[in-house]
């Protein structure tokens, strides 16, 4: 059986992250889990994961290097360091044992991109129909939305910085689009 860990290649392998004026960056690999469950399960997730998932719609809660992003009324995206996924799945499964829930490892399904700089919101507006003004989309807000033709998870991590989660197969498209938008700024 081939060692898949050895064979793993970045989907943006050919991309030079230093291209453009530096507003775009590829984030290092992360552990990504999609958790779905009723409100009654949240306390146990908070205890096992170390971050209390936000109950307020479209908000992310962060603690250290871990984050829980609200994606829907019963759906959260849990982010952690790359190597932590297997341990986290075991811990959460044990903690939630008698309750019904769904926990899926999507670490390799998507790629993290970062858009930062004074004009980050303007750059994203080239393809994202949301109002990205700091009043309408404050720091800590996160949501699934669209970037031109591809679905993304958009998360404002600072006044002038956004974290994007793009499906792996659409990452070259999203990168190309953002690069073009950066040139057109």
């Amino acid at each position: 059986m081939p060692d898949l860990g050895q064979a793993r290649r970045g989907v943006l392998g050919g991309v030079d992250p230093s291209s453009g004026t530096g507003m775009l960056a590829v984030l290092p690999p992360l552990s990504r889990l999609i958790f779905r469950g009723r409100i009654s399960t949240i306390g146990r997730v908070a205890a096992a994961f170390g971050v209390e998932p936000a109950m307020e719609p479209c908000r992310a809660s962060v603690s250290g290097e871990r984050a829980a992003l609200w994606l829907g009324p019963d759906e959260w995206l849990l982010l952690a360091r790359e190597s932590e996924a297997p341990d986290l799945i075991e811990k959460l499964t044990v903690a939630l044992a008698p309750l019904s829930f769904s926990l899926v490892d999507v670490s390799h399904r998507q790629v993290g991109l970062k858009v930062s700089g004074e004009h980050a919101a303007l750059l994203l507006s080239a393809g994202c129909p949301l109002d990205l003004d700091r009043q309408a989309f404050p720091i800590g807000m996160c949501t699934r939305t669209l970037l031109q033709k591809t679905e993304i998870v958009l998360w404002r991590i600072a006044e002038t910085a956004f974290h994007l989660e793009v499906a792996r197969s659409f990452a070259p498209y999203a990168w190309g689009f953002l690069e073009q938008a950066e040139r057109d700024l």
Binding site: P57, L71, G72, T143, L146
Partner: protein, 100 residues
């Protein structure tokens, strides 16, 4: 761009949504007790309303949830959105009226 008020996420651009057909059509509890004609009506019979129409929408590129909406089919205005399972809200006459 047309903004649709998702009951979970608030006002969001139309692009993020998908239409889900007429709302409040309940699946029969016991299909085997249902005659062919009634079954055909359940599958295909729709009110094709001119004016205020209760319909399902899905915030597919957002929270992913289905919800119901009241939309005027003559001018594409959304009068109300509400969660699945909630009663269809009553609208003031003026708002619900259809021009002849």
């Amino acid at each position: 761009m047309l903004l649709i008020d998702c009951p979970f996420c608030g006002k969001r651009p139309e692009l993020e949504f998908r239409y889900g057909g007429e709302a409040h059509i309940a699946r029969p509890d016991d299909p085997s007790e249902f005659g062919d004609k009634a079954w055909g009506q359940f599958l295909y019979g729709r009110s094709n309303q001119r004016g205020m129409h209760a319909e399902r929408w899905r915030h597919v590129h957002g929270c992913g949830r289905f919800f119901n909406a009241l939309r005027d089919t003559t001018n594409d205005r959304f009068a109300a959105t509400y969660k699945i399972g909630e009663e269809r809200p009553a609208l003031p006459e003026a708002q619900g009226a259809v021009e002849a």
